[in-house]
Amino acid sequence: MKTKLVVFITLGLMIFVSISCALSESDWTSKQASPNPIRQLVGLPSIIVGNLSPAARNPGIEILCTGLYDTPGGYCSYFTLGVPNTDFPMGGNFTVSDDDN
């Protein structure tokens, strides 16, 4: 009897997990598929909204964040890692030649 109960409860929970997973997957898929004019209009990643204000940061984590300030899309302390990865070489020739001599 106990064995059956454990099996039923486990199966029930597994079904709950599966349904939650399926619902979540379909919810995000439909979010991705539908156009979102507010997101387009604002043009800011929503997750940073409310997070980039220095007052709203968690100082325990953001203690290193002093140099780069607000950047749309991420916390500045981590952004220092991202900036050098911007893959576009600087244009122009920076060598100064002294042709007058």
């Binding site: 454990v6 997990v17 995000w28 209009l41 991420g74």
Partner: protein, 388 residues
């Protein structure tokens, strides 16, 4: 199942430890996936390039005169300006976004998700649209006037023209959208300056998109005092942020898992001694050593599946029903400063399977040596030893 029930102490100890480990891991992983997904979704609609002003290495205003220069670069479709920042309504910190309504950079024919009232009018100043959750916090309705305190300690009043209900709970929770002229006055921005410029490039073949972005970014970055951010950089920074944040929890979780594995090892050794008669009996009936090890491993796998299932269920309920108290503060920031909102949660099949895998596999590893020691015993000695 009978073996699991027979050794109750072992079962309870291992099950409890595994449930704690699985629920902690799954709740953080679901939240991290949700936040990353939310970021990806917004970045899909973000401008191709964001141009900021830089002065002495610090981000500052950008000259709007750059708009004409950038517009003249080949491959650029549109350039818009944006003014945004933060303001207080009472004790609530809100994000204020000023939009250039005459040139918003998107297709105006699209319907905004306005729940009540209307969208902003380009010709009208002094009006705002606010998120649904903001309206609830401020108890504001369409037509009401809200007062927002600026950094100059002046309270500016705006009439609520509409309330939007975006599918993003974060947008709804702390955003006020207004005309860029109003935002300029509110933030006391000098004429000819903006927070940043949004650059949209022409539609090109996806294969050529990166090279177009890089070439436009290169030309812009030749201008003095500018920093150019691409979508990829923004996405990388978000993923790094949440990866690192969940990484802190991964460390805690790994320590817990090691502790669980040690507990499981210990319990299996104890059970091994207690079950000597049982093993001896099985071996005298013709079961081989590998059969006995298999039985022990099946027991552990069953225990892992039960614990993983309970742990994931707790993780889901903790994130969705309880809105992830404590952990969401860590992942998002100070929750007290902005209105409460439901944390984006993404219960992906991948994370569910990963949770099962990391719950079951270490338990199997912790079980295999005690099982082997237990199974290699001589049946006669085992049965006599167990009886004496």
């Amino acid at each position: 199942m009978n073996c699991i029930q027979r050794y109750k102490i072992r079962t309870i100890v291992v099950l409890l430890s595994l449930v704690v480990a699985a629920s902690l891991f799954s709740s953080v992983a679901f939240m991290k996936d949700g936040l990353t997904k939310e970021g990806e979704l917004s970045l899909k609609y973000a401008p191709d390039l964001t141009v900021q002003g830089i002065s002495a290495g610090r981000q500052t205003f950008i000259e709007t005169s750059y708009m004409d220069i950038i517009q003249g670069i080949g491959g650029v479709r549109e350039v818009t300006q944006r003014i945004w920042g933060y303001g207080n309504v009472g004790n609530t910190l809100l994000v204020i976004i000023g939009i250039d309504l005459k040139n918003p950079g998107i297709n105006q024919a699209q319907a905004y998700p306005i729940e009540s009232g209307t969208f902003l009018n380009a010709q009208e100043n002094g009006t705002v649209i606010i998120g649904k959750a903001v309206a609830e916090v401020l108890n504001a309705k369409v037509g009401n006037t809200i007062a927002v305190l600026s950094e100059t300690n002046q309270a500016y009043q705006y009439q609520v023209a509409g309330i939007f209900n975006s599918e993003s709970s974060i947008y709804n929770a702390d955003m006020i959208v207004m005309n860029i002229n109003d935002a300029r006055v509110f933030f006391n921005f000098p004429v000819g300056k903006a927070t940043d410029l949004n650059v949209y490039v022409s539609n090109v073949d996806p294969a050529n998109y990166e090279s177009l972005i890089n070439s436009v970014a290169r030309v812009i970055s030749e201008r003095p005092n500018v920093r150019v951010l691409t979508k990829n950089v923004l996405l990388d920074s978000q993923q790094t942020t949440y990866g690192a944040r969940s990484g802190f929890f991964s460390i805690v979780w790994t320590v817990i898992l090691i502790a669980v594995a040690l507990i499981a090892f210990n319990q299996m050794v104890v059970v091994g001694h207690e079950s000597r008669f049982e093993v001896g009996l099985l071996k005298s009936l013709g079961f081989s050593t590998s059969d006995v090890i298999q039985i022990r491993l099946i027991e552990s796998a069953t225990l892992g599946v039960i614990a993983g299932t309970i742990g994931i269920t707790i993780g889901i309920l903790y994130d969705i029903v309880l809105n992830a108290p404590v952990l969401s503060d860590f992942m998002i920031g100070w929750a007290v400063l902005y209105p409460t909102f439901s944390v984006p949660v993404y219960i992906s099949a991948q994370t569910v399977f990963l949770t099962y895998a990391i719950t079951i596999i270490p338990l199997l590893f912790a079980t295999v040596i005690p099982s082997w020691l237990n199974a290699t015993v001589d049946p006669d000695i085992a049965m006599r030893g167990a009886r004496t």
